[in-house]
Amino acid sequence: MSPNLILEPNLADYDEVYQKIIDMHSGLSDEESQSANAKLILTLANHIGDVGVISEAVKIARDNTLQWRKKDTQS
């Protein structure tokens, strides 16, 4: 039930996009990496320009993380 946020596969080349994100961090300290991540999120959020879409993405990111927390503590 996600009218706005695209959750179907939507990238032509996943490997390339993934590599770009990892390469963004090359040579950066941990702190700089955190900074770069934040800047990436903020820049993309502005590009998306829709609070509904962003809220859905935020929810997915948070819920998924919390689910894994449960799994970790159960095992």
Partner: protein
């Protein structure tokens, strides 16, 4: 010369000596900005008011310095805005600094609000606002302002309130139909009602120094995130009239409140900021902690809370007094109708509903500013710093920078007083929203639309008087003569005979209200839209008016 607050003579009413009980319609407790404005509003409407204030002087030092447009519009209705605007400082340029960069990460120009009477914001000391208000009250025989009178007890009964008042020479009692508590954030009235004041205290402190510099600095607002002279913290510089500058230093949670405000401990901070050789004098030094709190009920029986007594916000975004004035604006006309027997006490439920919503949204806004200015976690600080670094280069990121947002009026889209739109409108001012100003003229004289609205219900009719049928005109006549009168104002280049008319000289009224020919807007006495229609329908108007006065 630092500001010396004027002292007023403490008032010892006759009742102290003869043990009698005084009668009044409205007892207002607290002559801060909110109590003073309410006394003026209800006083100008002709009601008998006693306004008591514990101290016999104004608070030393200015607390509020930023007055936003909507409160200025309200104070303009009460006749004291012109003096404030004339005395106040208008600033447009703001600069944001980050860390050790000498250049601002960016600067902005708050363009003046176009074609509206009042500016978006002025800076002026709170005591000027209070002084002007006190002078205006001097002209009203029906308002008694009593310095050195403290409310110590009250009984709220269905027919009124019996209040115990203490003076330096003894106590006396006041029997009032209504008690309005404007007694500030430590409100004893609230405590006596047993009300909670729920919310959050931010674990941080700000040191304020109001100083007078020898040398002139530009009239700009400067905000520093994590500057070298206050590492890991923030600072703010703002100009006030009389060449006084407000400097706020974020100083953290763990401080010695007595030590930190000693001039010898503040001066090194100011020298670190402006250079060793800076010359200045102190006006006022203070330290405060942020709090965001609100009551869950602003009306109880015949006791009404307004201003800081009902809600407290952190000062970033300048919302304290600015919100409180709007409480008064909302309350005065409702209480006026109730006192005059034209509306039921139930109408006050809408005061609680509308102003509690406003307080909630103000708290939300100021909490967001506080979270940006004083990040609470490592990741929050990382995002904050990322925003600031990006904003030096990219315009889009500046939208995220939150060093306190301009205080704007809160609309009441779901208020029970509104008549929701039944047709679609291409913009304009929605029901539950405050009216926009625009230039107009009448009898060849330039005026402002808002100066013709307020005090009573008004009907803006976007037509020439000749376009209306005799039946419609008769309807408007009846409205004007009704128990709760509605005055019609034609937006038209022609005079409208027995009705008023305003010439929309630049077409901005029509524009701002998205009004086609024949449209009408019903406007509440606090200049909020109650309902609007593309054409005049007297029966719909009647229903809307009953709704807007709590009768439906």
């Amino acid at each position: 010369m630092p500001y010396i607050p004027p002292k007023y003579e403490a008032v010892i009413p006759q009742a102290v000596h003869d043990g009698g009980t005084e009668q009044t319609t409205v007892l207002i407790v607290g002559a801060g900005p909110i109590g003073l404005a309410l006394a003026l509003d209800l006083g100008l409407r002709g009601h008998d008011i006693i306004l008591v204030n514990r101290e016999s002087q104004l608070t030393d030092g200015s607390r509020a310095i930023c007055y936003a447009k909507r409160p200025l519009e309200i104070l303009d209705r009460l006749g004291i805005s012109d003096r404030m605007v004339e005395k106040g400082v208008s600033w447009n340029i703001g600069r944001v600094f980050f860390k050790d960069r000498a250049e601002p990460v960016y600067s902005f120009d708050l363009l003046p609000v176009k074609d509206q009477k009042l500016p978006g914001m002025i800076n002026i000391q709170q005591y000027y606002n209070e002084e002007y208000n006190i002078e205006a009250l001097d002209g009203l025989d029906n308002v008694a302002l009593r310095w050195g009178n403290t409310l110590t007890s009250f009984e709220d009964v269905d027919t009124g309130v019996l209040a115990g008042i203490e003076t330096s020479e003894g106590v006396y009692r006041i029997q009032a139909d209504w008690l309005i508590a404007c007694d500030g954030y430590k409100s004893v009235t609230r405590k006596m009602l047993g009300m909670e004041f729920e919310g959050e205290t931010f674990h941080d402190n700000f040191l304020i120094a109001d100083v007078k510099f020898r040398k002139a600095y530009p009239t700009e607002r400067h905000f520093w995130f994590d500057p070298v002279f206050n590492p890991g913290q923030s600072a703010l510089l703002h100009k006030q009239p009389d060449d006084i500058w407000r400097i706020d230093f974020q100083v953290g949670w763990d401080i010695d409140r007595e030590e930190i405000i000693k001039p010898e401990n503040v001066s090194p901070r100011i020298r670190a900021m402006f250079g060793e050789d800076v010359e200045f004098e102190y006006e006022w030094i203070s330290v405060y902690t942020f709090n965001c709190r609100q009551v869950d009920q602003m009306v109880k029986g015949r006791v009404v809370l307004a201003g800081d007594a009902a809600h407290l916000v952190s000062p970033f975004g300048a919302r304290g007094a600015n919100t409180g004035f709007q409480d008064g604006d909302n309350l005065a006309w409702k209480l006026d109708l109730i006192i005059n027997g034209k509306a039921d006490r139930r109408l006050l439920e809408s005061y609680d509903q509308e102003r509690s919503l406003a307080a909630k949204i103000n708290i939300l806004n100021s909490t967001r500013s506080t979270d940006f200015i004083t990040p609470k976690s490592i990741v929050s600080r990382q995002f904050r710093d990322a925003v600031l670094q990006l904003s030096a280069e990219y315009h889009f990121a500046r939208g995220f920078v939150n060093s306190g947002r301009l205080s704007l009026p809160v609309p009441y889209p779901d208020s029970t007083l509104n008549t929701p739109d039944e047709a679609t409108w291409g913009g304009g001012v929605r029901p539950g929203t405050n009216c926009m100003d625009a230039p107009v003229s009448t009898g060849g004289e330039d005026k402002w639309l808002l100066n013709s609205l307020g005090w009573k219900f008004k009907l803006l009719v976007f037509a020439d008087v000749g376009d209306l049928s005799e039946g419609q005109l008769e309807g408007l006549r009846l409205l004007a003569a009704a128990d709760i009168p509605v005055e019609s104002i034609f937006i038209s280049q022609f005079e409208a005979g027995e009705f008023s008319s305003l010439n929309d000289i630049s077409g901005l009224v029509q524009d701002r209200y998205a009004a086609g020919s024949g449209a009408v807007y019903l406007i509440r006495p606090d200049q909020y839209v109650a309902g609007r229609w593309h054409e005049l329908d007297l029966s719909k108007l009647g229903v809307a008016l009953r709704r807007a006065t709590g009768k439906q």
